[in-house]
């Protein structure tokens, strides 16, 4: 039954779409434009995010991209709560690219952090307008009316009006001033803090979801692009004769030449356009392409990482210091040092990037699984030489993002090809494309040293880091980590130390460098978390005890007076300080819940780590068994303090996902480069964690009324260290160079 409805709906799209111009097709794909656009005057807009139909349905705009974090549920949940709406009568509408919404760039674990308050205000404002409309209609003082359960009530007379009955009048009123808004008391929340199931559940269960890869338009061409294997190379020549002979192939097109900075520009290459995906892929295999030389064609990731490891053994540029770390080391009774490294990594969202574009009469419409519709709009406009307001960007569901889909290069590819062919074009990246032509997590080397006095107290701390910078992607010149990357778990070291030196070393870029879930916190969380554990072992201390000692008294840490201009994830330091009490809080919570101090079976052990990132705090305890050279992860516990939480179930699911993401990268994650080209290509050589490797996972959320912090990323950084610490304590090797699979069997 359901499948028949589905097929016929799609056929309906094909038939009706044929007669329409490409640019109105969006209205025919469900969820891609405001639902009221076709409902006509029956729906009234109360504000940018809230519209209400005479049928009582409340349409709430979600302006952020859904990639599995549950934001299409979480933000509307906040609006509906303040609005006093009935969740069963809420319809979530995906917002188009529109600067009026504020930033739509769904990365940096920011959606709830930045929009919790605004969404509350949007809901409260619409509620106030409905109440005012009812008071006007009844000719009673505003104080006597109250919204509740999708209606406005007049207690005295027992009268009530449904939201749908009030919407039109309410929409004609002036919204209340912000300082006049009455926000609900948290005690009265109906939805905030509740496990509301995700709004896309029914569509996911029945296969009706539309991801970027799923968009289909009438008369659409399918494109598969062979891109340069080495960054900086261009197409020198191409022989497309065999490709054009493949059945279904319509044409080929040489993508524009590029130069550095690489920005979000499409990579040079040759596109094969066909009537279906398979034909496009088959045709692409027949291309004969010669590439120009590139300055990066000598890049070899192993040799490069060795160079970085060498550099971090040398004194570098100091970015933060307390006292004199070098004198501190000289005066120390004992010292200890260790180096760590993390290779290049890639996002590997389950859905590789995909975008569909139509170009007609100087305007372009895009459908894409993008984390960043506004930057998609800007970049497409730039590439086509039209104004951004001539580009309409529809955001589909994202089959995972992890930062890959905040780079709009794939939408620009589709736009260029749509303009070139005059037809709708879908560019689908294959898994190989995704792994070989991404924006990589930077390979990184770090070096740590600690000096102890005769009581074993750590009196001096030295840490250095080197990795190619994301800034290079944008300027083509940066050759050392930038401040915004050092913010991520390096310059913000929260330890109480008499002497500290945080230093950076040079690292030139040879690949497109980008942000991957938790970004530089990955390497810094791994290195710091491992080094503390190594120190604890050396000093014969329990790891938790040493962590608590290093963190020192309950206090707010500000690295600024020590020379480090700390960005704090763009947040106010007053609202979101580095709070050592909260770090200790999650550490103690997880250690107690997991029972890390209890005896374990032979060859089994716990590992601990803790990390603050995206203004939230996460501690992880991991239990492993080591048999000979084989590692098995048995159990993981995580605790997060993210302040106020909107949907605890989605926070737990993010934490579960972060544990597994962290295990994947720690155990098996490695992108290597030979002769400037990425070696790996698919899941056989870039493996991801599978169900048989997945441990039991327990997640704890610290109850808090503090401002909401990030959730999507902060779970990742402590994972690798907690795992490697557990392996060592279970009798395995001390792993300082990820991934673990290079040293042990996983």
């Amino acid at each position: 039954m359901s499948q028949i409805a589905n097929v016929s709906r799609r056929q309906f799209l094909k038939i009706t779409g044929m007669g329409a111009t490409g640019l109105v097709l969006g209205g025919l794909l469900p969820g891609f434009r405001p639902a009221w656009a076709k409902a006509g005057d029956a729906v009234s807009e109360l504000n940018l995010f809230v519209s209400i139909g005479s049928d009582d349905l409340v349409h709430i705009i979600c302006h952020r991209s859904e990639m599995g974090q549950g934001i299409r549920t979480g933000l509307p949940q906040v609006v509906a709560d303040e609005l006093m709406a009935d969740w069963q009568k809420v319809q979530v509408v995906q917002g188009l690219a529109n600067a009026e919404y504020g930033s739509q760039n769904t990365d940096g674990s920011r959606s709830v952090r930045r929009f919790y308050q605004i969404m509350r205000e949007m809901g409260a404002s619409a509620r106030a307008m409905l109440e005012q409309a009812a008071a006007n209609q009844w000719q009673v003082p505003l104080e006597e009316v109250q919204a509740r359960d999708h209606q406005v009530w007049h207690q005295k007379s027992g009268r009530s009006l449904r939201f749908g009955e009030l919407a039109e009048a309410a929409a004609g009123l002036t919204p209340p001033a912000k300082d006049q808004l009455k926000l609900k008391s948290p005690d009265d929340f109906n939805y905030i803090g509740k496990d509301v199931p995700i709004v896309d559940m029914p569509a996911i269960l029945s296969g009706q979801t539309v991801f970027g890869q799923d968009v289909q338009l009438p008369d659409m061409l399918y494109a598969s692009i062979e891109r340069t294997p080495v960054v900086g190379a261009n197409v020198k020549s191409v022989d497309n004769s065999a490709a054009l002979k493949v059945k279904g192939v319509v044409d080929t097109f040489v993508m524009p030449e590029q130069s550095e900075p690489v920005l979000f520009k499409p990579l040079p290459g040759v596109a094969v356009l066909a009537t279906n995906s398979w034909a496009a892929m088959q045709g692409r295999k027949q291309l004969r392409i010669e590439w120009t030389d590139s300055t990066h064609s000598q890049h070899d990731s192993d040799a490069y990482l060795d160079v970085l490891k060498g550099r971090v053994k040398q004194q570098g540029k100091v970015i933060r210091s307390i006292g004199d770390a070098y004198a501190g080391m000289m005066n120390a009774v004992d010292t200890f040092e260790a180096g760590y490294s993390v290779p290049y990594l890639i996002h590997a969202p389950m859905e590789p990037p995909a975008a569909t574009a139509v170009f007609k009469d100087g305007t372009c419409e895009i459908w894409a699984c993008t984390q960043t519709p506004q930057s998609t709009q800007q970049n497409v406009a730039g590439a086509l030489g039209i104004e951004p307001d001539k580009v309409k960007v529809n955001v589909t569901l994202l089959g995972g993002g992890f930062g890959r889909k905040s780079k709009p290069d794939f939408s620009v590819e589709a736009a260029i090809l749509a303009k070139q062919t005059g037809k709708p074009v879908k560019v689908s990246w294959s898994r190989e494309d995704e792994i070989r032509h991404g924006y990589y997590h930077a390979a990184a080397a770090m070096h740590f040293a600690a000096g102890m006095d005769d009581t074993g107290r750590v009196v001096s701390w030295l840490q250095r880091t080197a990795f190619p910078s994301i800034s290079w992607t944008f300027n083509g010149t940066s050759d050392e980590p930038s401040g915004s990357e050092l913010d991520l778990g390096f310059g913000d070291l929260p330890f109480a130390l008499d002497n500290l030196s945080c230093e950076v070393q040079k690292a030139e870029a040879h690949l497109r460098i980008g942000w991957v879930r938790s970004v530089s916190n990955i390497q810094h969380g791994f290195a710091i978390g491992s080094f503390v554990d190594e120190l604890a072992h050396k000093l014969d201390r329990r790891p938790r005890e040493l962590w608590l000692e290093l963190l020192g008294s309950d206090r707010l840490v500000d690295p600024e007076p020590e020379g480090f201009k700390y960005g704090n994830y763009g947040e106010s330091k007053a609202v979101f300080p580095i709070d050592t009490a909260r770090i200790k809080g999650v550490l103690n919570l997880v250690a107690d819940k997991a029972g890390v101090d209890k005896p374990t079976a032979k060859n089994e052990a716990w590992g601990l780590s803790v990390h603050r990132s995206f203004v939230s705090y996460v501690a992880v305890a991991t239990k492993v068994r080591v048999d000979g050279n084989k590692v098995q992860v048995l159990e993981m516990h995580s605790a997060i303090d993210a302040g106020t939480v909107v949907n605890p179930d989605r926070v737990r699911s993010q934490m579960e996902g972060a544990m597994i993401f962290g295990l994947s990268l720690a155990m098996m994650g490695e992108i290597s480069v030979k002769d400037g080209a990425v070696v790996q290509s698919n899941f056989h050589d870039y493996p991801l964690l599978r169900i048989n490797q997945s441990p039991q996972i327990h997640s704890y959320i610290v109850e808090s009324s503090q401002a909401p912090g990030g959730v999507g990323e902060p779970g990742v950084p402590p994972v690798a260290a907690s795992l490697c610490n557990a392996i060592f304590r279970a009798g395995g090797k001390r792993i300082r160079d990820l991934p673990i699979s290079k040293h042990m069997q996983v």
Partner: protein
């Protein structure tokens, strides 16, 4: 022309014999519930049932589909009423949802063979399905719930 039964209806597509079923379903029949993740039978995103067996549509050539019965996520059950779909809902399994068509199709096939699977059987039968979002603990729990709800419907 290739003829086969898709979710109970006979369909025909003008596909080459070497075209994998995945692309015939997605591009020619508009059935996009079955997803692409790797194209090499490495991730399970494209899992469908061929005469009741779980198979990877990305590597299954149309020549082998001719005359057979194919079930996709869209046809697993009316109104998402299959025990697997019910259990998935109960445990709030999906994050992004992209892998979940394949996960549910694999789980349904697993339960048809093993109505009461233990952890090892689940690990064995489900390890071909990757979930990058990391929903494995919930998938495991949901399969056990689905088993209680009746295994195969």
């Amino acid at each position: 022309m290739m003829n086969f039964t898709l979710n109970g209806k006979v369909v025909s597509v003008d596909a080459e014999g070497d075209m994998p079923l995945l692309w015939a379903l997605r591009d020619m029949l508009g059935m996009t519930g079955t997803k692409y993740g790797c194209g090499m039978a490495l991730c399970g995103a494209c899992t469908v049932h061929l005469d009741g067996q779980a198979v990877r549509a990305c590597t299954l050539p149309m020549s082998l589909v001719q005359g057979k019965k194919v079930t996709t996520i869209e046809g697993l059950a009316v109104d998402a009423s299959h025990p697997v779909q019910q259990a998935w809902k109960e445990h709030n399994v999906p994050q992004c949802g992209y892998c979940q068509s394949g996960q549910m199709m694999s789980a349904a096939a697993l339960l048809a063979k093993h109505p009461n699977p233990d952890d090892n059987t689940i690990d064995e039968q489900m390890q071909g399905n990757i979930c990058r979002c990391g929903t494995y603990p919930r998938i495991k729990a949901a399969i056990k719930t689905a088993a209680k709800l009746g295994g195969k419907s």
